[in-house]
Symmetry: C2
Subunit: 221 residues, 2 copies
């Protein structure tokens, strides 16, 4: 089947109306890690919740996770709380809560909690200094480590160390894989499209001269 | 339904066997952007292809995309070629090529092209100085801009400017969204799990006091 391809150059992209370009360029990285980041303010413990679609694995040893923070109002509450308190939570999104999760991107004022506004439930666990989302099935407690300024466009890469992990017991496989599909986590694309997933396969560790085979999850347990 | 949750602390994570921890921590960011990065060497134009699951949107204006490069052998070929030539391609992965895409993670030697080893086809377009994957439906031509060292764990965030975009014509929506699901792009989780997607909905721009509604793709065209 021949697919008819369209081509856009850099100057085509730069000539676009701003929101059109934002929608288009946000599509180009494909499916993205999407999660809710929970924080509270230092003084009043006012809770805050914001959706981020720019999570990125930084390293496993020690366990570091990052996200890109943009210089805009919604995310500044999250970033300010992280810088002030040193802690935040990262909560996977499932089908039951994706509309509320999306709604946290509305520009609420600083004295209004997105938990209250969307009906999601903050929960504190193990004396950790940031609220988790009770309705989320995979929850991370994260300690702020470093904010790396990206001078190229005034965004920042915020890096934290994973200090607590909560997940459904039956989603942990014999080799350490915690299956986000089995945990009902969803993915997103562009600025506003949310997707369930359907596994093709897990593939064995790739070596030259051999063909990767499907990992049998039942053998793997 | 009550889901039985398991908890792991930071010290639990640090006590794990290294590959088990890598598998587990790589699961925690959920579904990830996964793509093939195509390059060639400066001197001999030897092509190189490597799978990356750490793509991240950096900005739309101008259009910047990033990925995390780890200090290991496979990725060094890609990084060295990018630094030498200044150009690379990012190619979405679809169901027809995900096994070959995974196979590019095998540790081939520097004089062996992953294109040849996996049977994927390099293609040059518009005089761009890096090979695209012909079997990929969404292809980006990227100009290297900046390597941001992450001293926390000796990885780097590699940032490039998107200078060419190729995509199936019918996947472009009226608001600029290029639908990766319609373009058959897949997502991944952990180190080795590949997934198709199934859209829940696109949701309208969120505003305080209103409820986000589903965007009707037909109206949207």
């Amino acid at each position: 089947m021949k697919i008819e391809q369209q081509h856009l150059s850099h100057s085509d992209l730069m000539a676009m109306e701003q929101r059109y370009r934002a929608s288009l360029v946000n599509s180009l990285s494909g499916f993205k890690s999407v999660a809710l980041i929970g924080t509270h303010s230092l003084s009043s413990k006012q809770t805050n919740l914001a959706i981020f679609n720019s999570l990125v694995h930084i390293g496993a040893n020690p366990p570091y996770i990052g996200f890109i923070s943009r210089p805009d109002q919604v995310e500044r509450h999250t970033l300010q709380n992280i810088l002030d308190t040193g802690y935040y939570t990262i909560n996977h999104i499932n089908e039951s809560i994706y509309k509320q999760a999306h709604q946290t991107s509305a520009r609420y004022t600083k004295d209004q909690s997105e938990f209250d506004a969307t009906g999601l439930t903050p929960v504190y666990k193990e004396n950790f200094e940031a609220p988790y989302v009770n309705e989320s099935f995979i929850q991370l407690g994260v300690e702020f480590k470093e904010m790396v300024p990206l001078s190229i466009n005034n965004t920042s890469l915020v890096i934290g160390r994973i200090v607590h992990v909560y997940f459904p017991s039956d989603c942990l496989k014999a080799d350490g894989f915690i299956d986000p599909e089995q945990a009902q986590s969803i993915t997103c694309s562009g600025l506003d499209s949310y997707h369930l997933t359907q596994r093709l396969a897990r593939l064995s560790y790739a070596k030259p001269g051999t063909v990767a085979t499907k990992i049998d999850e039942n053998q793997n347990r």
